[in-house]
Symmetry: C2
Subunit: 67 residues, 2 copies
DNA sequence: ACTTTACGTAAAGTGTACTTTACATTTACG
DNA sequence: CGTAAATGTAAAGTACACTTTACGTAAAGT
């Protein structure tokens, strides 16, 4: 699964720290998500989409629907 | 967080077992999701929305954005 | 050079999504 | 009734989302 977090964060001119604070998670969580270390919970995915004013499917790309 | 899984499952005329098989999860997982015991992972949420041919936000209702 | 800002990442711990096994309850049908 | 299909749920285990702490690196400012 891919995501556009880094791009969107740049567009919204936010640092990892600032985004983390808005989402009430740690900076490491943002870094890990951007690096694809793991997938967000559905609640976090929802909050992220909300910050970027779009839908979950606009932030996260399931395309190849890997495993 | 609420969800419309049970309703959608009824509309699509599927048993918990049949839906579980399509999603490649156990029947208990479906039961637990319907009963609100826990939230799905984002991958499972995506697969569920796909089966019901709609968006994640159409199946899962974050409204009160509890915790 | 020194410091600050932004980011990468590793280790150890906690909580929870999901599994398998198993048994109980409900519903409908012969 | 008896039985089968559909569902609820509990216990114990595994995997992973997320945390805190901590340290490293690279860029930019002063």
């Amino acid at each position: 699964m891919q995501n556009r977090i880094r791009d969107l964060r740049t567009i919204f001119d936010l640092t990892q720290d600032e985004l983390a604070e808005k989402l009430e998670v740690s900076r490491q969580t943002i870094s890990s998500l951007e690096k694809g270390r793991y997938n967000p919970s559905i609640m976090l995915a929802y909050k992220i989409a909300k910050v970027f004013q779009c839908r979950i499917e606009d932030v996260f790309i399931f395309e190849g629907e890997e495993k």
